[in-house]
Every structure is written in structure tokens, then in C-alpha cells.
């Protein structure tokens, strides 16, 4: 049953605009068409639907979203296998796969509601994954040099338990350095930005955030 409320009419308007854009063969028409479809679940998940929110509908959106995510991940993995078997590169698909999994892990950590613990876990995870991906390229002098940011992030993660706020400042400085050093502002670096820069900034924010109920670090 279609719920006719302002969100429905907004989605309908966006969909109509998408159709017009598609008729004029505009590439961004797909953004509007998908946006119209995802408007209600997006507003619900961001707690912006206000009085138009319905808890059962939220539960349905959440469950169907999980199924959709699972199917998407399986689809991407299947495509990677097919492409690899043909000897074609699958870099973009790998990027998409890891961005999806990282977004899920990151949002899950934040939803636990213990920001400082989340900040530490995010930093340690980024450090370990950075080292893992670097090790996969083989043990050469170049890869050892390239692994330095990974070690730095891992050590910062371990230290962040004791010194959350000073580490938050260092992580912000490191993020900005990486942002310019790796040219993360360039569009072709979007995957690295999403997998490295964004989680680092989020972890710094988590470590800086102080809740009254958060246990203070000893010493």
C-alpha cells in the first residue's frame, strides 16, 4: 500500500524530474530516479522523516536494506570472479566492495554509541588493513616504505586508548597530510578518500568527543 504523504509527493516530483532528464538523455537522470526510490528509507535512517516515520516501516526498510546489501555484495563478488577469470582488471569492483563493507562496519561501530572505543577500533582497523594490502604487494623495499602510514595509524590507534584527544589532533593533521600527499581531492582517488581519509576524520571526531558517561583513561 502506498502511503500518500509529503515524502511520497516529494519522491514523485523527483521521479518526474528524472523522467524529464532521461527524455533529454541526461546522464544524471539515474541519480534522480534512484534518489526518488531511496528518499523515504534515507530520511528514515537519518531520523529526518519526523512525524511521517513509521516504526514498522522502518523495520521493514532495515531488513529489506540488509537483504539488498547482501545481494549487492554477492553480485559484486560474482562480477569480480567473472572479470578475473577473463583476465580483466577488477579494481573498481574491489573498490566498490570495500567501500560498501567499510561503510557498514563504520556505521555499525558508530551506532554502538561508545565514540571513544569506536575511534580506537577504527584507527587500529585502518592501520591493520593498510598493512595487509601493502603486504599483499610483496615484501620489497618499496612496499616496506609504503607501509609507514599503516604502522603510524596502527600505533596511533593503540595510543588513542590512553590519550584520545591528543591523538585526535595528530590524526586530523595526518589526514590532512595524506589528503594532499596522496592527492585525495582528485576525482580518480575517490575510493582511497572513502576508505582512508573519511574513516580517519571520523575516528578523530570520535576520539575528540567526550561523553559524560565515557570512562576517563587511567594515567
Amino acid at each position: 500500500m502506498i502511503k500518500r504523504d509529503p515524502i511520497f509527493y516529494s519522491a514523485l516530483g523527483i521521479f518526474a524530474l528524472g523522467l524529464i532528464a532521461a527524455a533529454f538523455q541526461q546522464n544524471w537522470a539515474i541519480v534522480l530516479l534512484v534518489g526518488a526510490y531511496l528518499l523515504r528509507p534515507a530520511l528514515n535512517v537519518l531520523n529526518l522523516a519526523g512525524k511521517y516515520e513509521d516504526e514498522r516501516q522502518n523495520q521493514i526498510h532495515s531488513r529489506s536494506g540488509n537483504i539488498g546489501f547482501l545481494v549487492l555484495i554477492i553480485g559484486i563478488v560474482a562480477l569480480i570472479v567473472v572479470r578475473t577469470s577473463r583476465g580483466e582488471p577488477g579494481d573498481e569492483l574491489y573498490g566498490l566492495l570495500f567501500v560498501g563493507l567499510a561503510a557498514r562496519a563504520l556505521s555499525g561501530l558508530l551506532m554502538v554509541g561508545e565514540p571513544r572505543t569506536a575511534g580506537t577500533v577504527i584507527l587500529i582497523s585502518i592501520g591493520l588493513l593498510y598493512l595487509l594490502f601493502n603486504a599483499a604487494e610483496g615484501l620489497t623495499l618499496e612496499s616496506l616504505m609504503n607501509s609507514t602510514p599503516g604502522w603510524a595509524i596502527l600505533i596511533l590507534g593503540l595510543l588513542s586508548r590512553k590519550f584520545p584527544r591528543p591523538i585526535a589532533l595528530i590524526v586530523i593533521a595526518l589526514s590532512l597530510f595524506l589528503f594532499y600527499f596522496f592527492g585525495l581531492y582528485k576525482s580518480e582517488q575517490i575510493v582511497v578518500t572513502l576508505l582512508l581519509f573519511v574513516p580517519l576524520v571520523v575516528s578523530a571526531g570520535c576520539l575528540w568527543y567526550r561523553r559524560r558517561l565515557d570512562p576517563e583513561p587511567a594515567g
Binding site: 500500500m1 502511503k3 512525524k51 513509521d54 516504526e55 514498522r56 516501516q57 523495520q59
Partner: protein
């Protein structure tokens, strides 16, 4: 979980599912799903329904032996 929501609706001037949904700020489908026993409402919604229908959460919902 056993629900007396339908009974309480009728005791409140024979409210329709839609009217009850409007009172509680949810969809008619949610009220229908609660009445069918397909959906267990949140504590907040249970309290809202109880208040709007002049009842209590205990009066609206009961645990059955199989729930324990």
C-alpha cells in the same frame, strides 16, 4: 503475545484502524499488523496506544504461555 487492541478500538467509539493509526502517528498497516499479531510494537508505541485509547499497556497486550 495476545493483543486486545481491536477490542479497545471498539470500546473507544468504534474507532477504525485508520483513526487509531492517526491517533498514534503510525500507518494503518502497522495497526493491522499489531492486531494480527504479526508485529510487536516498541515500548514507545505501546505506551502511546495505551494513552490514546485510555487503557494501559497491560490492558492492550498480554504475554502468552508460549512467550515465556
Amino acid at each position: 503475545m495476545k493483543t486486545n487492541l481491536r477490542k479497545q478500538r471498539f470500546l473507544n467509539g468504534e474507532l477504525t484502524q485508520q483513526q487509531t493509526a492517526d491517533l498514534a502517528g503510525v500507518s494503518r498497516q502497522t495497526i493491522a499488523a499489531i492486531e494480527r499479531g504479526d508485529y510487536s510494537p516498541s515500548v514507545k508505541l505501546a505506551l502511546i496506544l495505551a494513552k490514546k485509547l485510555g487503557s494501559t499497556v497491560d490492558g492492550l497486550f498480554e504475554l502468552e504461555e508460549s512467550d515465556l
